[in-house]
Structures are given as C-alpha cells and as structure tokens.
Amino acid sequence: MFRNQYDTDVTTWSPTGRLFQVEYAMEAVKQGSAAIGLRSRSHVVLACVNKAQSELSSHQRKIFKVDDHIGVAIAGLTADGRVLSRYMRSESINHSFSYESPLPVGRLVVRLADKAQVCTQRSWKRPYGVGLLVGGLDESGAHLYYNCPSGNYFEYQAFAIGSRSQAAKTYLERRFEGFKESSREDLIKDAILAIRETLQGETLKSSLCTVSVLGVGEPFHFLDQETIQNVIDTFEKVPEQDEEAGEGEAEVAAGAAPAEQGGSGDQDVAPMEM
C-alpha cells in the first residue's frame, strides 16, 4: 500500500471508492501476533500465541472471557481490544440482568460491528485497530465470528488472524470440513496444531500458547499448561522430523502470500501492538 492524498481522514473517499484509513486499520490487525478460532457443532476453541515485549515482561493477554458462553480472541492494538472486550462484557451482563438469559452471540457481534462502523464515519474518530474472533454458544448452536475494524463481521467454521496467520489458515482450510462433527479433544488438538503452523519452526511449547474452550455444558475457561502440554506431547513425539515438516509447510505458505506476513519478524512490531 502506498501513501496517497486520500488517506489522511477516515471520512475521505478515494476516487476508486476506498476508505484508506479503514484499510490501514486492518493492516494493524495483521501486525498483531496470531489468534485462531475453530468450532464444532457443540464447542468453540480459541487459541493464541503468547508474545512478550521482552524476556523480562509477562506476555500480553489476548483472549478474554466475555461471559460463560462467549469468549473473544484479539489481534492488533491490544488497548483497543481491551476496551471492546469491556464493552462486550457490559452488553452481555446487561442482557443477563434484564432477561436472565444469555445474550445470543449473533446479536452481540452485530452491536460490536455497529460500534466499529461509527468510527469509520466520524471525522474526529479513528477505526479500532483490532480484529476480534468472537466464539460463543447460543440456542442455535456454537458460533465463531470475526469482527473487522471496518465494521464488517463474518461467521466462520475456523479462522486465523494476525501475523503468519496464513500458515494457520492453510492448515485449517485442509481440515475444516471435519470440524463440525469433531470431538472436543480433536478440536483442541487442531487448534494447537494450527498455532504451531504460525510459529515457523520454533519448538511448540505449552508456555508459548494460550488455549480456551467453551461448549455445551462447559462454560468458557482456559486450559492449563499441563493439559496443553499433554496434547502437544501426543503429536510432538518425534520433534526433529515434525519440526522439519512444519518448517517446510510454513515456508511454502509464506512464499505464497508475502504481503500478508507483516514484515520480517517481530522487530518491526510497534510497541503498542501485540
């Protein structure tokens, strides 16, 4: 993307009918570290890569519980993500208070999208620089939505956002048709495998990822490190061979879509983005 004379204000259209500020906001999402979501008929798994500013600091929280039946994973400007998570929690609890019933995910997502749209049509605002993977359960089953800074939202069987997400998406594209009938355990395994794709050769350890689950009869909660490590152990039995295969796949994926990768690694990531 090049700088041009139509990209200063979010309220300025380009002659080709684009709002560049909104598109730049979507770029910010691509800079954040990867977040992945997948769903079956009865469960939704959200997983993300833990990235810390430095060895001295703790890692940023990218997955938030919105309610017992809704969770959200973010990528991009985490500050924006935190604010939107708070909004989602507020909407959810207000609905529960008035109707003593969980807020349907589809309705929450629409409110979120409408909130994002406002920021694309006010000259004194800027779009939110965060992409949200909203996973939740309601009467009509398990759902996974992706909310974009543009104010659009889409429903997915599985999706990945953030840097090196293309690798994960390729993995998910191959397997998503089976997800609907997947068991809870297989879904978790697929999520962790998808995370591994984004690591591009780094050894997969439970300390590197955060995984959360919600489903029928199972309120939103994080999996502990031990559980994650156990899942990793089931497929990382031959570490060297697996690693090589993983690296090969990631390279191919990276070659296929260079523009998506968001630069040459984490040195280019601005301090406020994770």
């Binding site: 008035s98 109707y99 003593e100 019933s101 349907p104 589809g106 309705r107 629409v110 009467e139 009509s140």
Partner: protein, 252 residues
C-alpha cells in the same frame, strides 16, 4: 392499600405536583387469574369482568393475552396498567423480531423483563397496579411464573392471584399433579373458577341471576389458542339458600 409517603409541609413547591404523578389506588380492576402447567404446556383462566369499585362495570375485558410466539400474559389489578404493560411488551417483541435471526424471547426472558419493570416502578413509588401471570412453552419446556406489583417474582407449577390466592390455591395444592391431560387440566381450572364465581364478589353480579363469562387460553408448542367466552354451570338450589335468614330475622 394506598401509596402515600409522609410529606414535609415546609417544602410546598417541590411537593405540589409530586403526589399527583404517582399511582395511589386502582380504578378499574380485574379479579383473579388461575394458571397451571399441564402435560403439553400451560393453561390459564380468567373471567372477563372489569370492576369499577364495587360496580361490575365492564363485562368483556380480555385479561389474558398472547405475547410473541411463546408466551401468555394474564393480569389482575388495574386494567389500564395492564394495557400499558401490553404496549411495553409489544415494543419488546417487535424489536426482538426485527433482529430477524434464529433467536426469540421466551417466557423466561419476558418474565424477567417484567420483574425488572415492576420492581423499578415500585422503587419510584409509582407502581403498575397489577399481579401478572406469565406462562409459556419454548423448546419443549413449560414455564409458569408471576410478578406482583411490588416486584415479588417466582415460578411454580400452578399460580393464582387475587382471591385465587385464598380460594384456588388450596384446590391446586391438593389436586395438581405433573402430566395432567388437557381435559383434566381444564376440569381443575374450572373447579377453581367456579369457587371464585361463588365466593369472589368482583367475580359475580349482585343479582341472584347472573351470567359470568370465562375465557380459557391454552398454550402448547403449536402456539396459543384462546377459547370463545363461555359460562360455567352453577347450582343455587341448596336447602340453606331457600330461607337464608331463618336463623337471623331481619338480616338479608
């Protein structure tokens, strides 16, 4: 029961209009509502009278209405407040339908919404003078609950309001059981309504000969069915009624 609070007379300016804005007593009232869960859903019954004090002024008031696809709302107490509540619910259901997604407000959600409304009005000392009965069925699950004018709310297998609290509830406690058939459910409700007819002043006419109209509404998965108004058979030929003042000359 009246809703007045002590006023500090020194503050005439503030108080001049304060009381005229709050509900003090009801004017046109409906009497009891009786409702039960049965095998296929919920049955609710009410008479069609609206009393103006001791006068049975209106004889064609429907005090049970369908709400959305899944619920029935019955009300005793002030009829105008009931109509106001119907307007609130109309808006609620309309907005719910406008989402046009697979979700809809069920009886539990409507009951809770009404509890919030009633309790909030009570806190402002301006109550909606009703006892509401909310019944319905959604996804195969029956639901029956009530909310009072001060926001007391609960669920149960059988509900009675007004005089029904005293006259119908003992009958329901004795004779209600799970999985009542439709016919048995109607019989049970009619038994309660008959007792109310005999003993609740606002459920009958002052003259010996009277016609009472009762409406029974049924809600199952198919939806809400409301029967045409009909009347119950009553019997007045008891020996004791032939010369009621036999034991007390001069009384009537």
């Amino acid at each position: 029961m009246t809703f007045t609070i002590p006023i500090d007379n020194g503050d005439a300016v503030k108080n001049a209009e304060a009381d005229s804005q709050r509900t003090l007593y009801p004017y046109v009232t409906g009497t009891s509502i009786v409702a039960i869960k049965y095998k296929d859903g919920v049955l609710m019954a009410s008479d069609m009278g609206g009393s103006y004090g001791s006068t049975l002024r209106y004889k064609n008031i429907e005090r049970v209405k369908a709400i959305g696809k899944h619920s029935l709302l019955g009300a005793s107490g002030e009829i105008s407040d009931f109509q106001e509540i119907l307007r609130y619910l109309d808006e609620l259901i309309l907005n719910d339908n406008m989402w046009d997604d697979g979700n809809s407000l069920g009886p539990k959600e409507v009951h809770n919404y009404l509890t919030r409304v009633m309790y909030n009005r009570r806190n402002k000392f301006n109550p909606l003078w009703n006892t509401l009965v909310l019944g319905g069925i959604k996804n195969g699950e029956s639901y029956l609950g009530m909310v009072s004018m001060i926001g007391v709310s609960f669920e149960d297998n059988h509900i009675a309001t007004g005089f029904g609290n005293h006259l119908a509830r003992p009958i329901l406690r004795d004779e209600w059981h799970a999985d009542l058939s439709f016919e048995d459910g109607v019989k049970l409700l009619e038994k309660c309504m008959r007792v109310l007819l005999y003993r609740d002043r606002s459920a009958i006419n002052k003259f010996q000969k009277y016609i009472e109209t009762v409406q029974i509404a049924k809600i199952t998965e198919e939806g809400v069915t409301v029967s045409q108004p009909y009347s119950l058979k009553t019997f007045w030929e008891f020996q004791a009624f032939h010369n009621p003042t036999a034991g007390a000359e001069g009384s009537w």
